[in-house]
């Protein structure tokens, strides 16, 4: 590993929802610059909530998240948008704009750098060139002019990756990026994600529920169980015993 330079510092993060459910119960960990951190855990363990707190899509209840020196908690309006330009996000359901072309979706990643021109969807030549280049690196050069709803799931997720990379983010959050894809498309998408993050020197936090993918791609793994960090270590440390504890120990309680 490269030098251990902390990019994101999460301390005693708590998040409760209005109904009273406590999704995160005091989570603390650091994310190092340049690493690919995988968060594993069963459904409902709080993986999505954790990622959504990092770019302020969910407001946290207490604690602190510092991204490259900026405290996320309490950010609003322009400052929050500024933070988000540094933090790309990829979703389980792709969330690309289906009725727009692939190239338009990639260019959406640049919106924060435009004002009214972004409202009208007018982008500079340089940005268009860049979008073509990134889409080509994701092997989507034949799809650039197609409408997004004509693509397969795996292609849609690659468009979403292109959109995030267009932001030139410092960190990329991927929330179950392959949960709605078949195994073939899944490893392909994760492969592209891994490769492009390395090439662009982007720190990535990826939540996954498939252990083998986590072992394949992670520099480091964090395990969440019911809103608490129950595992932290390298992929080689995630042995059967650790997995057992992460996924199967809730049943004993019931």
């Amino acid at each position: 590993m490269k030098q251990k330079d902390v990019l994101i510092k999460i301390s005693d993060l708590k998040k409760s929802f209005p109904g009273g459910t406590e999704a995160l119960k005091g989570v603390s960990f650091d994310v190092y610059r340049g690493e690919l951190l995988v968060i594993v855990g069963a459904s409902g363990a709080g993986k999505s909530t954790l990622l959504r707190c990092i770019n302020g899509l969910s407001a946290i209840s207490s604690g602190s998240i510092v991204v490259d020196g900026i405290e996320v908690n309490g950010l609003k309006g322009k400052k929050l948008r500024q933070l988000r330009t540094d933090v790309g996000m990829i979703f389980q359901s792709f969330n690309i704009v289906n009725r727009k072309r692939v190239i338009d979706n990639a260019l959406h990643g640049r919106l924060a750098y435009y004002g009214l021109r972004g409202v009208l969807g007018l982008y500079s030549f340089e940005d268009k060139k860049k979008a073509f280049e990134i889409l080509a690196r994701l092997d989507l050069e034949k799809q650039v002019a197609k409408r997004a709803d004509q693509l397969s799931g795996g292609q849609k997720q690659r468009v979403a990756i292109a959109r995030a990379i267009m932001q030139e983010p410092k960190v990329l959050l991927a929330d179950e990026p392959v949960a709605s894809l078949d195994p073939g498309a899944s490893s392909k998408v994760l492969g592209y994600l891994h490769k492009i993050c390395q090439e662009e020197d982007i720190t990535a936090i990826v939540s996954l529920h498939q252990i083998d993918y986590a072992r394949n791609y992670a520099d480091r793994i964090i395990g969440l169980t019911e809103g608490v960090v129950t595992f932290e270590g390298g992929p080689e440390d995630l042995d059967d015993e650790a997995i057992q504890e992460l996924y199967f120990n809730e049943e004993e309680e019931e």
Binding site: N55, L57, R81, Q82, L83, R84, T85, V87, G88, M89, F91, S93, F94, N95, I96, V97, N98, R99, K100, D104, H108, G109, L111, A112, Y114, G115, L116, G118, V119, L120, G121, A160, R163, A164, Q167
Partner: protein
């Protein structure tokens, strides 16, 4: 095991009961409402029976055949009706776009603004176009101007609500993704909300234009210009055959406009 199943069945039975009670209550309510309104309107089948020959006589003696030679009289009013419907639709669409957006609870986080938007739409909708026309004819005088505003206000009530409902149905994942790239509210609106909303927008707007043709014909009856005004004039002068000609014009206009809007709507939706 069997006793278990019996228990389950009993539970199922119990769970259904409230639904059945509610259904019974609803049926009784409908029956009461029918009887009440029957009495209230003085609806009587013998009166219909007695009326049929009179309607028949009126149609045969007074309405038919239409005075085809009077067709030119209705040419300008027809065009006027068309203009009223069209301009009324444009104004209604512009007004409703604003109303629809502020009434959509997934786009506006301030509850108060959403209630305000919904309230304005409800109010506009609650007043029929003819009632707006009566008020506006008194305010700005006879003619198509009053009719156009009346149609616009009536239409905005409906479109404001349908736009808002359509906007609330969009996939918020796409909206959230653009928020996550740091896009501004207006950027999210045009780049993620609008693309999803456009098909519904065109469908409802064209439908409103169809309805406006009917409204435009009707508001004329209270003096707000167009075919209705000419029709009313003819009836007041007992020129019933001329009136029949006017009704034929309205009929033709509606058919032609519906045909054209259906075609253009399909073309536009195809291209979206």
């Amino acid at each position: 095991m069997d006793r278990n199943m019996e228990n389950n069945l009993a539970q199922l039975k119990k769970s259904r009961r409230p639904g059945q009670l509610r259904l019974l209550f609803a049926i009784i309510l409908v029956i009461v409402a029918v009887i009440w309104s029957w009495a209230g309107t003085g609806f009587s089948i013998p009166a219909i029976m007695r009326g049929v020959p009179r309607i028949y006589n009126f149609i045969i003696d007074d309405l038919i055949p239409p005075r085809f030679d009077s067709w030119q009289k209705f040419l300008n009013p027809t065009l006027q009706t068309l203009y009223m419907a069209y301009v009324g639709a444009i104004f209604a669409i512009i007004l409703s776009l604003g109303l629809g957006i502020i009434s959509a609870n997934n786009l506006i986080s301030n509850r108060l603004i959403v209630y305000l938007g919904r309230g304005i739409s409800s109010f506009l909708r609650a007043v029929p176009a003819v009632a707006w026309a009566v008020i506006l004819v008194a305010a700005v005088g006879l003619g198509p101007f009053a009719g156009t505003i009346a149609i616009a206000l009536g239409g905005a009530g409906m479109l404001g609500k349908t736009y808002a409902d359509s906007l609330e149905e969009i996939d918020m994942g796409q909206v959230e993704a653009l928020k996550a790239v740091g896009a501004s509210w207006f950027q999210v609106l045009t780049q993620a909300v609008l693309p999803q909303f456009l098909p519904d927008f065109f469908t409802w707007s064209f439908y409103r234009f169809d309805l406006n043709i009917r409204s435009a014909a009707v508001v004329g009856l209270v003096g707000a210009g167009g075919l209705g005004f000419s029709l009313d004039t003819a009836i007041r002068l007992f020129q019933f055959r001329e009136a029949t000609m006017g009704i034929l014009w309205i009929f033709g206009l509606i058919l032609i406009v519906e045909f054209i809007t259906a075609k253009s709507r399909d073309k536009i939706l195809e291209g979206l």
